[in-house]
């Protein structure tokens, strides 16, 4: 304990302290950039510190107290990041929320943490707060970043964030002493941020992360990948997500690199290309979509271009990953790869915005091996990590040169990982969360007295490499009626690796065989339909088209064949499936805001369909309630076909051996 204190003293113990350190060390380097009015505006670390300080002084003038909770709802903008640090300076706790959450979802969180101040991005968010204000009486003041459309609102307890800063600047003589006192009070154990988990089950829980959690994690992971103040990231993932907090605040303040904020969510791809980040994180979905759009565009390209592309992509597949991993590759092949880089990979990477990328990460879901190796073969150092909000992200990650699609890497520096008796993964690390806010019961059931945290995921370490492999959510791993292992997520991921399948939900726990719901990917299937002269008027019609069914059945059967080779999982083969008439949607509660399947809710909502799958019927009529973006509800009616898929008898290997 004593040496921990000693160690802490010579380094910054809070984000505001790191900010001060960065001003001294990197004062003239850019800290933030944001594209506005078509031009990238930038703020150096010194300017950033001034802005944040003004905001903190403004917060004091509004009456922010120690221990207050300040909710921040908006897209990634420098001002919102500043608001988080300014809140910390005042001794308050920033609580970033998902900006696409409906008012009711927000009300729960606001009430739970008792937020007194809210920083809104724009009118849309303010409207939600106004809607719920009467129900939760804690909110005393609302600020907003974008002034548009705000003139007519009652400003008795509301003003623009800019004006708060102005007030702070005007009143700096009055508040400065108090602010400096509060900044000095911050230490390793004060709360850095509170993040609400998306909650695949039940209500969201507030994960309290201390400065120690964030700074230690940021330090270890920055050193792991040699991040420095010349790196650039694009901040485009939800601010309420722990990853964005670690990348855009934790690591950014530790390493002093630049955080770039896109102009709007729609321009993200254009901005990505303009910035060309050196350090980039994206969920598998983003990489999938990019690859899909590249492939679609190549289908439409001229013959010569297409042949060049195919030829050099083959070269890249053969030698690209080896070159990236520093393995020996013959001189001739290296020359060939260099030509490929000149003609294809270079321009392609430029188009994708990956020209300067040094370290790329993906996590959150399993990534398709083909997608993964596509990017790696282009020379993009894409790696996987495994993490959780409760761990301040990092549990395991892949070191350079040891990257594979099917593992999530070795334990991150400072993290201990063990596998429980039931196969569940446990970890203990400096990043392990303090507690769930106002929920001692859940805290106790997740974190044991020794500090081990259950991830809820089942996995195992590969004996020869020491890499961790994740199979499924521990509670989802079940048994079929005859006792064979049932791992739905494993199957769903395999299905989702096909570009035409957007989402899949597999059922079978306690039943005699497995069945599945499939969601088609409108972009990929729509394009395929166009090329094959299949006309359709709606998503529903396309989803029900016999040719689409045929294609999906082939995919399902391929997955069945591949699973059959694994004796442990061969019971998971899908016997029957149907294609859903609507896309699973977070607005309908079928997915979480981070787009994870909510199995129980789907099982309940589509109970009639599951029944039909097991009853052996060929089609079923169903009515489904849907929620539109503005909160209104409607009904979709459809008659869905149910098809059988061929399965491979279990244990063909064993038979062949006899």
């Amino acid at each position: 304990m004593a040496d921990a204190v000693a160690k802490g003293q010579d380094s910054a113990q809070s984000i505001p302290a790191l900010l001060a350190r960065n001003v001294a060390r990197y004062g003239g380097y850019p800290a933030y950039r944001e594209k506005e009015f078509g031009i990238w505006q930038s703020w150096t670390w010194a300017e950033t510190a001034e802005e944040i300080r003004a905001m903190a002084l403004g917060f004091l003038s509004l009456g922010v107290e120690r221990g207050d909770y300040i909710a921040i709802i908006g897209r990634n903008r420098p001002a919102h990041y500043w608001a988080m640090v300014a809140a910390q300076m005042c001794g308050a706790v920033p609580v970033p929320l998902y900006q696409d959450a409906a008012a009711d979802e927000m009300a729960y969180v606001m009430e739970h943490c008792g937020a007194r101040f809210v920083v809104c991005g724009d009118q849309e968010q303010v409207d939600k707060i106004v809607e719920i204000e009467d129900r939760i009486h804690t909110i005393t003041h609302v600020t907003y970043t974008d002034k548009r459309g705000m003139r007519k609102y009652d400003h008795a307890r509301m003003n623009a964030l800019e004006d708060v800063q102005r007030e702070g600047r005007a009143g700096h003589h009055r508040y400065e002493t108090e602010l400096d006192k509060r900044i000095a009070e911050l230490d390793y154990d004060s709360t850095c941020v509170m993040l609400y988990t998306s909650g695949t089950t039940g209500k969201p829980k507030g994960v309290v992360l201390s400065n120690r959690n964030i700074i230690e994690t940021a330090k270890a992971s920055s050193e792991f990948d040699h991040l420095n103040h010349n790196d650039e990231v694009l901040a485009y993932l939800p601010m309420a997500w722990v990853g964005d907090f670690i990348f855009s605040i934790g690591q950014a303040y530790w390493s002093g690199f630049t955080v770039n904020c896109p102009e709007s969510p729609e321009t993200m791809m254009i901005d990505l290309r303009e910035i060309g980040p050196t350090y980039f994180f994206a969920p598998p979905r983003v990489f999938e979509n990019q690859l899909t759009s590249v492939m679609i565009r190549m289908e439409d390209a001229g013959k010569l271009k297409k042949r060049l592309f195919d030829h050099y992509m083959k070269v890249a597949r053969d030698v690209g990953p080896d070159i990236l991993d520093g393995k020996p590759v013959s001189f001739g092949r290296r020359i060939s790869y260099a030509f490929g880089n000149l003609f294809i990979y270079g321009p392609l990477k430029n188009t994708l915005g990956f020209s300067r990328i040094r370290v790329g990460y993906t996590a959150g879901e399993a990534i398709g091996p083909e997608i993964f190796s596509f990017y790696r073969s282009l020379g993009i150092n894409l790696k996987q990590l495994y993490g959780q909000t409760e761990a301040s992200v990092f549990i395991t990650q892949q070191p350079d040169g040891e990257v594979r699609a099917d593992t999530v890497g070795v334990p991150s520096p400072g993290v201990e990982v063990k596998i429980g008796e039931n196969g569940e993964v446990y970890y203990r690390s400096p990043g392990t969360f303090v507690e769930y806010y106002k929920n001692a019961e859940s805290t106790a059931s997740t974190k044991d007295p020794e500090g081990w945290v259950a991830t809820g995921d089942a996995g195992f370490f590969e004996e020869d490499t020491g890499h961790l492999r994740i199979i499924d959510r521990a509670k989802d791993v079940g048994k079929l009626a005859d006792g064979r292992l049932f791992a739905p997520k494993y199957m769903e991921n395999k299905l989702k690796f096909y570009p035409s399948i957007l989402e899949a939900v597999v059922f079978g726990a306690g039943k005699d065989r497995c069945t599945a719901f499939i969601n088609i990917d409108l972009t990929a299937v729509g394009n395929w339909a166009e090329r094959n002269n299949i006309s359709y008027a709606s998503y529903q019609e396309l989803a029900g088209h016999p040719r689409v069914y045929e294609m999906i059945r082939e995919h399902v059967e391929e997955v069945n064949a591949s699973v059959a080779e694994d004796p442990m999982l061969s019971g998971c083969q899908i016997h029957r499936f149907l294609i859903l008439h609507k896309e699973l949607d977070a607005d309908d509660g079928e997915l979480t805001r981070t787009r994870k399947v909510r199995r129980n809710i789907i099982a309940e909502k589509f109970g009639d369909l599951i029944e039909a799958l097991y009853a052996g019927r060929d089609e079923i009529y169903t009515e489904t309630e849907v929620t539109y973006e503005d909160g209104r509800k409607g009904k979709i009616k459809a008659t869905l076909r149910i098809e059988d898929a061929k399965t491979v008898p279990a244990g063909p290997m064993a038979e062949a051996a006899e």
Binding site: G149, K152, E266
Partner: protein, 273 residues
Amino acid sequence: MNDMSDGYVTADGRQIGGVLMEMKNITLKFGGVTAIKDISFDVRAGEIRAIIGPNGAGKSSMLNVISGFYVPTEGEVWFKGVKRGPMRPYQVARLGIARTFQNIALFDGMSVLDNILTGRLTLMKKGLLSQAAWWWSGAAQEEYEHREKVEKIIDFLEIQNIRKTPVGRLPYGLKKRVELARALAAEPKILLLDEPMAGMNVEEKEDMSRFILDVNDEFGTTIVLIEHDMGVVMDLSDRVVVMDYGKKIGDGTPDEVRTNQDVIDAYLGVAHD
């Protein structure tokens, strides 16, 4: 309506100013055809004024009279208290009147940005020679200023992601939005919208309605619009003129117009017995 000479306050609390434009006994004839018969109404500063009516009622002709494209056969147009004579298009633009068209009239091959910049043509002061000597003559500086204005409009209408896209590649709903952007680029006092929602789906209509309200609110632009979608008209406008067969059959707030028997007859038809 004469009792409102000093403006009025709308249901949602906006202050509407005095008369900005007044049409006095307008009649418009094309040879033997009378498109507009003796119509009078006014447009007040800051209001959203709608002109509605069945097909062939003379709405677009009326808009063309307002914009100065047609010179009325009889009657007078008063703008800001001055009687307006026949004008050339650039003169109209300089007066502060801009419009969008029923069938989109953009330059397909040009980018969204360039299309919107064309809206500022009448505000550009440097001539051809100065522009040839781009940097030395201050034309560069002028271009920056115009670009800044255009960027603000792009931000306002949320079309940043298509800034550099050629207009020809855009879907219909977005083209309409670009047209609105170009009209706004001229910084008009009065904005004339000829069926801004024609051919749009519900979502696009909602977006467009939002933008029209925001333009009115943010820039204080007076808006005269022609529209077929009654729901939209009743929601958006402060006062409505109803036309049928070239005649004015109603004028007032949406509620007044909705209960006007002549209007109901014109829209639903009457039995001929």
